[in-house]
Symmetry: C2
Subunit: 227 residues, 2 copies
Amino acid sequence: MKANVSPDIFPPRGHEAKRISIVDAATSVFCRESFAGANIDMIAAEAGVSRQTIYNHHGDKEKLFVAIVRDLTERCNAGIFATISTFPDQPKNLEADLIAFAVRMTHNCICNRDGKFLRKLIQTEGGRYPELFAEWREEGPGRTWPAIAARFARLAHAGFLDIDDPDVAARQFMALANAELQTTFMLGGTPTEDEVVQSATNGVRTFLRAFGKRQPVARKQGALASA
Amino acid sequence: MKANVSPDIFPPRGHEAKRISIVDAATSVFCRESFAGANIDMIAAEAGVSRQTIYNHHGDKEKLFVAIVRDLTERCNAGIFATISTFPDQPKNLEADLIAFAVRMTHNCICNRDGKFLRKLIQTEGGRYPELFAEWREEGPGRTWPAIAARFARLAHAGFLDIDDPDVAARQFMALANAELQTTFMLGGTPTEDEVVQSATNGVRTFLRAFGKRQPVARKQGALASA
DNA sequence: ACAAATTTAGACAGGCTTGTCTAATTCGTC
DNA sequence: GACGAATTAGACAAGCCTGTCTAAATTTGT
């Protein structure tokens, strides 16, 4: 039937607009109320759509939930990789550049809407959908940590840092950058810009006390694994 | 009534035993299912008690929930302070002693049943009971962080560490010690003993590279022992 | 403007949950 | 063994939620 015309294969755009506003609203409601506490009428009201439209688009509550987590994972990953690409490979001022990078990571990947929501859903419903969140673990942390570690490895190789294990260093870098925000994150809050900068500054300073070269950059190599 | 006899002022012990098993079961069910997803029949079944008994003891679902959080907060705090009291004030081997302390903290306060459950409830329901969790924040982190910081301050004052701000150092110490366990914690999992030791070891080593007494040691990290 | 596709409001059955009530049973103690 | 307090199983009303269905209204493409 309708194999004749060939505009875009996908449905009209009013359609897609509804779909997006449904996903948006559902994300927000699921995060606020948890899966069990959310109800479809809330989501419909918040999306400005009728309940039936949600069922037309997504089938049932559980499918809607899964669609949302996949969506969030994808968007968060994109944001993380975009931010990783701003890593200071050729730092002018190592401390300042790493602080700025740490602030960008915290700000764009952890404190933003998607980051907060995905984290909350993982914490809240992680146990109920093991394979869904295993998928997230592979696609998310499983890919982003190595990417960050690779950047630190390069920085060390270029002589800016003194790092044994880049994977460990990468995890410790992020842990230090967010060390003072843990309690706020736990309660689902958002730290102020000042708090983010403060924590990142303190974290990077400690990181550099541990891994910074003692003297100005000496571009020597060769003594890497000589022991 | 009954002002005559004077055994314990509190009701019989079968009573108290039931109360405890109710609180236990409710904690576990609320954590597994979230507040909205938990139902009283589940809790009754898991506690080996009839539904009516739960209502007799606690009134309603919400009061039961509040009672549980208060209970958990109290027990966790006790555990944390007990562990803090094992802080190595006169370390024989600074690195080894701090690693052991970090492992104890992670093991006894974060990975144990109470710690996992309290964390999960805070993350899941923190937004719904602001004043309850504000209370936790004051009684918990508000009192434990200064206590840990005080120990690090003492250690620095005794000449073992080179610390500017003990509060920052305390938070960074814990962040480093758990740096490699974040993903596991997020999904509600429990790391293996090996993972805990590994993360603590790497974390403490980095911590000491940053805050250990500086010696004119050039590059090799062979000797840390000072005295 | 027309026709097809989509959305809407509302009603609806079925299921589940909370919190109460009652009558029977068990427990703890003397 | 007997008494009072606590516990139990089960029924129950009321409410909420999911997911379906309908018929009317709206949007979209042509």
